[in-house]
């Protein structure tokens, strides 16, 4: 899924840092909304799929509606918008805070999605060229590779159990719980063995034989990368300035 423009992963990292730091520091809902729009635009520009992103965000909406109510019930003060007797179910402060939290999460998720438009190997190379030691950068890769392995492992076990003719839904809850706990340790062990095998495989291919290593891929900044970073900086400063002025 190559985008129309292929930005250097370091440029993307820069954008992600700028966007997510705004998400953390801003409190004004309108500015947060603006940043969210910018983040989505940046994602589209980097070649990411907005449809996929919307799919992910949709699943979170229920949680945020819950947050709005929880904030309303437990935060004192503010104008009640909805009341049940003495209990304030929905207040303006609760609503504002809930929306803030939601926008922040959406911004961070959208900006994180920007990184997924890069090939992970390129991201590692980006980190290495930003002077991150290669051992650490590769540790990150193995960790990234690890989650799908863990997920596959769980899926396979569940598939294998069901294929042996067991309907897990029909097994009484306590027995099922016992089964899960019983499977947990062998599963963790197998994941542990697998990670050990992978690290042995890496070492047997001379990983860390020398303090340096070469790389088939080398990243170069191009004009568009400088342009994007400059634009990003200007927008960042403009938003910070507006936020400070608005108090």
């Amino acid at each position: 899924m190559a985008g129309k423009v292929s930005l250097d992963p370091r440029t993307k990292l820069f954008m992600v840092l700028a966007i997510s730091s705004l998400a953390v520091f801003l409190t004004n809902i309108y500015l947060l909304l603006l940043v969210l729009l910018l983040a989505v635009a940046a994602l589209a520009f980097a070649g990411g799929s907005i449809v996929d992103l919307l799919g992910k965000l949709k699943r979170l909406i229920a949680i945020f509606i819950a947050i709005v109510f929880v904030q309303s019930i437990f935060t004192k003060g503010g104008q009640p918008l909805l009341q049940a007797g003495e209990l304030v179910i929905l207040s303006d402060i609760g609503l504002t805070r809930g929306i803030q939290t939601m926008l922040r999460f959406f911004i961070i998720l959208s900006s994180a999605a920007i990184m997924t438009t890069s090939n992970p190997r390129e991201i590692i190379q980006g980190l290495i060229q930003c002077k991150v030691p290669y051992e650490i950068a590769f540790m990150v890769t193995v960790a990234i590779r690890f989650f799908p392995i863990l997920r596959d492992e769980v899926n396979d076990i569940m598939t294998a159990i069901q294929l042996r003719g067991i309907n897990l839904k029909q097994v009484p809850f306590l027995k099922r719980l016992k089964t899960y706990s019983y499977l947990l340790s062998p599963m963790l062990f197998s994941v542990f063995m697998k990670s050990q095998d992978l690290s042995v495989a890496m070492e047997m291919r001379a990983f860390r034989a020398y303090p340096r290593r070469t790389s088939l891929r080398v990243l170069h900044f191009r004009t568009q990368d400088y342009q994007v970073m400059a634009l990003c900086t200007i927008i960042f400063l403009a938003i910070v300035f507006t936020a400070l002025k608005a108090g």
């Binding site: 396979d156 076990i157 069901q162 294929l163 097994v171 019983y182 499977l183 340790s185 062998p186 062990f189």
Partner: protein, 218 residues
């Protein structure tokens, strides 16, 4: 009992077509081999036949169950499936537990379970490692254990993905005996293999899977 594939095509989301418009009827009581080059789609076809994967287009029927609607456990009571990598289907704390645990979940009596476990241990030459941790067995032992657990269910159909991998000559002969025995009992089998001698020995029918298609051959 039969497995039928009607106009089945398969691809992973956003991937290329792995299988295209496959029509196959596989009767039981026969030993059908699927052969073909690496990456030809044999494993995918095997997984479609058990409902582990669902067809992108078309339908797969396992004895009148459409795998699109059927639950895995329903297919699992009819079809046993041996993964190419045995590690994917072993997970208990000891070899003995691995063999027993499904029967325990089904609430079968303890004595019956113990007796059946003993039979399986002997049949698959696993007595020596009965109390070992399955993950520390050798590849061949894992393979035998996986096959033994699949057979504990007495499935009327078996799908074996590369069952001879990691087996030495003697163990291969032992596997051959088991296959002959199952055949006699009327268990239908689909075996994915590139072990030519093994194919020659047991095949009643050979299906060549290559380039996304499947045709009868040899």
């Amino acid at each position: 009992m039969m497995i039928a594939l009607n106009a089945v095509s398969f691809r992973y989301p956003r991937g290329n077509w792995i299988l295209k418009d496959i029509n196959l009827h596989i009767e039981s009581k026969k030993c059908t081999f699927m052969v073909g080059p690496n990456g030809g789609g044999k494993t995918t076809l095997g997984k479609l036949m058990t409902g582990i994967l669902k067809p992108t287009l078309g339908d797969v029927f396992v004895d009148k169950l459409n795998t699109k609607q059927a639950k895995l456990y329903q297919v699992g009571t009819k079809v046993g499936y041996l993964f190419q990598e045995p590690e994917r289907q072993i997970f208990a704390a000891t070899v003995r537990d691995e063999l027993a645990f499904v029967m325990e979940l089904k609430g079968i009596e303890k004595e019956v379970i113990e007796q059946r476990v003993e039979v399986a241990l002997v049949r698959f030459q696993l007595q020596e490692v009965a109390d070992s941790f399955p993950f520390q067995l050798s590849r061949g032992e894992k393979q035998r254990l996986a096959l033994a657990t699949v057979l504990m269910n007495n499935p009327s159909f078996l799908i074996l993905d590369e069952p001879t991998t990691g087996l030495d000559v003697e163990r291969k002969e032992r596997l051959s005996e088991i296959i002959r025995e199952l055949k006699k009992r009327g268990t239908g089998m689909v075996i994915i293999s590139h072990d030519e001698r093994f194919v020659e020995k047991h095949a009643d029918r050979i299906i060549i899977v290559a380039g996304g298609g499947a045709r009868d051959g040899g």
